[in-house]
């Protein structure tokens, strides 16, 4: 206890409480005078007595220092002293300090924000209680796979989901969910909403508490009811408390609102969910009961809650057992079940997000390199002019460790300030992301927490010390005499330092150019989408699909949508403003048909894609066949294959004609032969930039399919939406339809690329800004350090242009070297990753000269400006003032 009291008093002594320095000195002085008086009494002369007393006591300041040490805590006092000195020293070179702090802060803040976002998106838990117990099930098929897919192949069919739900003993609840875009009609206005069609246990697996009313329960499977999100409630219903019981018309089906989900819960996918509906009732209403019965259709995501304490191996073993029972129906197929912690992204999407994330991390790494080298170069520039100061300290007896402590204190101050700037930048970046990126709702929910703050501080410290101590090491190798004379700023040692600075400028320019090239490439890559790289022109191409109009009150069945689509196609084809119309099972970018095929009866089958199209499909897409012809009416035993399939099975396009292709008969496992009558080019109908897999097209029989799309190519300026709507009303009054241009669909399909472009553009702009600030700071600092030298040059008759050339020369060597480095890096990257990059860039070459031109001009302009502004000051130096200056 006494010890604690003593320490508290010592800590209070740090801030000046307790005995003052003057009192300590006075007490020691009294001691000496009493001793002298004693000697005097013993017979010494006064002067001698004083001398003797002083000799006995030794240095008064040493005694006072020992006394003062006991008053406070010496380690802390020394450290504080170092920090005070460091602050003064940083203040003396404020240009360098501020630009270092800004540069590091920008880099740290941006990087922290990007990391926080990717962490939250790809690995962040769902915002539900005990989120750690929620898992996502997915499946992988190997061997002989013939499966219909909506979305991704790793999803479940409804019967499979039911099998897990019923059979499981380790899961406390299993729920299936299908996310869809729906149209909400209200007072004649249409508004797109994001819907989650869920099974009864969904809110048992994700046990959130409703803000108003109640959530969906297992009993709601047959009730047309809906739970709306907090966001929809506040934005569209004006947060009215009596929202329950209100009707909400989605895709032509009236639902009744029964509750509002809490604001903290926005669903289980990246995009926020607006409304939750019972899966069974939503599908029955749209006439898609067949999907619920289809055992071999991948379409549902399955989430489950683990019994607390259930071991993972047991869970996996049980899942494998159920999967084993299910796959007995499909000989030759092997199913693997994956159980993973549920996050906002499923595995497939996480893969894509990680690709974007990897790109962003690379960019962040590069940005850090720019910031780090920038800070290092400014600190180093500052360091060369501080050699004299350090030499004075060493000459006055400062131990090297004190100099190191001083440098550490300076770095810590810079690190702390950078972390502060970083936090501000981080918040600003997150806010910008939230308003710019298409996943704004999720972004708006991301706040830098203690973890992010810790990360910022840790990164700030590491980066600062890394770039601060390298110059620090150089400072410690002080040779007092020449440094005291100030000889270092002249020819002898200047050259290596200058070369190092140019090297650092080159590094920054190099990474900035690489980033800018990446931004330009990605931007142009997205732009490529609007060119003809898909294999067909998208201009004037529209996709029309009838909505399910279902009367919940009478429970009447939906109209035969296949029949409606066929009639709609016929009516539209007769209009002179329409160039061509076709019916297809899968419109471009609407999904993928997975199948298998073989070039002969006894040849092993290969996994391929398929689509059912009518005879006018290729004409409507404006795609001339490479060989052969399209279907004739009623030609059910004919098949058109794409070039990829023809080349895979028969080597070249023409040799495919008149061959037999064996494909599975609809609904059975047996293979039937179809004659190849035509070969189409390999189009891009699934992913932009990625050619279709080997695909065969069979003839769509009119009125056979309930889920076909009408694809229409309109003449220029045709009011397609009005045309289609009028035609629909003519066929079936009251029937609503969805009309989307292919460009809209494409825009939706480039979401990830646009996120990547946004992030890269942001980082690129930041890199250029950082490089410009850094180069500006460096040049300004170099000019102020070489004020005298420039003055001498001007006195000796150097023209302003010569001085300007000298200063430009300091940066231009670095800029040239950096640009060359960037070209080498890009060429190397395109050689190593050519294929992947070209896919990402929609076929654009990574060595696109226009992108390079863009990058070099943006950077060149920024560097020129960053150099010119401080150089202008150098030109204004009056020779006499420079020569007088110290």
């Amino acid at each position: 206890m006494r010890g604690v009291r003593a320490w508290l008093l010592r800590l209070a002594g740090l801030v000046g409480a307790g005995r003052s320095d003057a009192e300590i000195r006075e007490e020691v002085e009294t001691h000496r005078s009493l001793l002298a008086a004693e000697y005097e009494q013993a017979g010494m002369l006064a002067e001698e007595a004083r001398r003797r007393a002083a000799a006995d006591l030794g240095s008064l300041s040493a005694i006072s220092a020992a006394y003062q040490d006991r008053r406070g805590v010496p380690v802390i006092e020394t450290t504080l002293r170092h920090f005070r000195m460091a602050a003064r020293s940083l203040q003396r070179s404020s240009v360098a300090s501020v630009s270092t702090v800004l540069v590091l802060g920008l880099g740290i803040g941006a990087a922290t924000a990007v990391l926080a976002v990717f962490q939250a998106i790809a690995w962040g838990d769902l915002t539900v209680p005990s989120a750690g117990d929620v898992v996502r099930l997915s499946q992988r098929f190997d061997g002989v796979v013939d499966r219909r897919v909506q979305g991704q192949v790793d999803r479940f069919s409804y019967p499979e989901f039911e099998a897990y739900r019923v059979a499981t003993r380790t899961l406390a609840g299993v729920a299936a969910v299908k996310h869809d875009r729906m149209v909400w009609r209200r007072d004649g206005e249409e508004r797109p909403v994001r819907a989650a069609k869920v099974t009864g246990d969904y809110f048992r697996v994700l046990p959130v508490r409703p803000d108003i009313g109640r959530l969906l329960a297992p009993d709601d499977a047959r009730n047309p009811v809906a739970v709306i999100s907090h966001r929809l409630w506040t934005r569209a219903f004006g947060a009215e408390p009596d929202v329950t019981g209100r009707p909400i018309d989605l895709d032509g089906v009236p639902y009744t609102v029964i509750g509002v989900a809490p604001g903290s819960f926005s669903g289980t996918e990246l995009e926020a969910t607006d409304v939750w509906l019972p899966l069974e009732v939503a599908h029955a209403a749209q006439g898609r009961d067949a999907m619920l019965a289809d055992r071999n259709l991948s379409w549902l995501q399955v989430l489950a809650r683990v019994e607390s304490g259930a071991p993972m191996p047991q869970l996996k073993a049980e899942a494998a057992l159920i999967a084993g029972q299910l796959e007995r129906e499909y000989p030759g197929r092997r199913t693997t079940i994956r159980v993973s912690r549920a996050t906002r992204l499923d595995d497939a999407l996480r893969g894509k997000a990680l690709a974007v994330g990897a790109l962003a991390s690379l960019a962040i790494g590069i940005l850090f390199l720019v910031c780090g080298s920038n800070a290092a170069s400014v600190l180093m520039a500052r360091g060369t002019t501080r050699r004299r100061e350090i030499a004075v300290r060493v000459a006055l007896g400062a131990a090297p460790r004190h100099v190191v402590w001083l440098l550490l204190a300076e770095m810590s101050l810079i690190g702390l300030a950078s972390a502060g700037v970083g936090l501000v930048v981080c918040f600003a970046t997150l806010r910008t992301f939230a308003s710019v990126l298409p996943i704004g709702d999720i972004m708006a929910g991301i706040r830098p927490d203690a973890g992010v703050f810790g990360l910022t501080l840790a990164t700030a410290s590491v980066v600062t010390f890394a770039c601060g101590l390298a110059p620090g090491r150089q400072l410690l190798r002080v040779d007092c005499l020449p440094d005291l004379k100030g000889e270092e700023s002249f020819v002898g040692r200047r050259l290596p330092a200058l070369r190092l600075r140019q090297g650092l400028i080159a590094l920054q320019v190099c990474v900035s150019v690489v980033l800018l090239v990446a931004v330009a490439l990605l931007g142009r890559g997205i732009g490529q989408i609007w060119n003809a790289s898909l294999g067909y022109a998208t201009l004037g191409l529209f996709v029309i699909q009838p909505d399910a109009n279902w009367d919940a009150a009478t429970g009447s069945r939906p109209r035969d949508r296949g029949d409606f689509s066929w009639q709609l196609a016929t009516v539209l084809a007769s209009d002179s403003r329409v160039r061509a119309v076709t019916l297809v099972t899968l419109a471009p970018f609407a999904g993928t048909g997975h199948s298998r095929a073989a070039p002969g009866p006894d040849v092993p089958v290969a996994a391929v894609h398929f689509n059912d199209v009518d005879a006018r499909y290729f004409e409507t897409l404006d795609v001339p066949l490479v060989a052969g012809r399209s279907f004739l009416p009623g030609e059910a035993d004919a098949v058109v294959v794409n070039s990829a399939l023809a080349r895979r099975f028969w080597g070249e396009d023409r040799s495919a004609l008149d061959r037999l292709l064996y494909v599975p008969s609809r609904g059975t496992e047996t293979m039937r032969p179809l004659r190849v009558v035509g070969v189409s080019p390999t189009l891009q109908t699934r992913d932009v930039g990625i050619p279709d897999e080997p695909t065969y097209y069979t003839l769509l029989t009119p009125r056979a399919s309930g889920t076909s799309f009408v694809v229409l190519r309109a003449r220029e300026g045709a009011p397609v939406r009005q045309l289609a709507s009028d035609a629909a009303q003519g066929i079936a009054p009251g029937q609503s339809i969805s009309v989307a241009s292919l460009d809209d669909r494409l825009r939706a399909s480039t979401g990830e690329l646009r996120v990547a472009l946004g992030v890269l553009a942001f980082l690129g702009a930041l890199a250029v800004l950082v490089a410009a600030v850094g180069i500006h700071g460096l040049i300004a600092f170099t000019i102020s350090a070489r004020f005298r030298e420039i003055g001498v040059c001007r006195t000796l008759g150097a023209a302003p242009t010569q001085v300007l050339r000298l200063i430009l020369g300091w940066t231009m060597t670095g800029v040239t070297l950096g640009t060359i480095g960037a070209v080498i890096l890009t060429v190397a990257a395109s050689t190593l990753l050519g294929g992947e990059l070209q896919g990402l860039l929609n076929g654009l070459s990574p060595l696109d000269p226009l992108s390079f031109l863009f990058a070099v001009s943006v950077l060149g302009l920024s560097v020129a400006l960053a150099t010119y502004l401080p150089a202008r000051r150098a030109l204004g130096i009056a020779p006499v003032a420079a020569l007088r200056s110290e």
Partner: protein, 118 residues
């Protein structure tokens, strides 16, 4: 603090000075630093010479621990001097430390003169 005996310098046990200071203050009452140093030197038969660099930090430590208190007064040569006095806690501490030292001394004494004590 050092202990001089026939020119030899010997280390003194940790804590000895604290007891010497407390005991001296108990015996003399309030005293300034110089007076304390002189008294300790005399009591030790001039075998202990106290350096002010050791004495004053020790006094400050005892004050921080609450065993002694100090106030400014006037010395015999009319100079301002800080006078130290025992607090109640200090008095109790003297008793405790004294007993502990006597115990220790008695225990060590048994080793040094085994016949006399057995």
């Amino acid at each position: 603090m050092s202990d001089r005996k026939g020119g030899e310098r010997l280390d003194i046990w940790q804590g000895t000075l604290t007891l010497m200071v407390l005991k001296t203050l108990e015996a003399l009452g309030p005293q300034h630093g110089f007076g304390l140093a002189r008294r300790i030197e005399q009591t030790s038969g001039h075998r202990v010479v106290l350096n002010p660099g050791t004495l004053y930090p020790t006094l400050l430590k005892l004050e921080q621990e609450g065993y002694i208190a100090s106030e400014w007064g006037t010395s015999e040569n009319n100079r301002r001097a800080r006078f130290y006095r025992l607090t109640r806690a200090g008095r109790r501490q003297v008793g405790r430390e004294e007993a502990a030292w006597l115990d220790a001394a008695e225990m060590v004494g048994r080793f040094l003169a085994p016949k006399a004590t057995s």
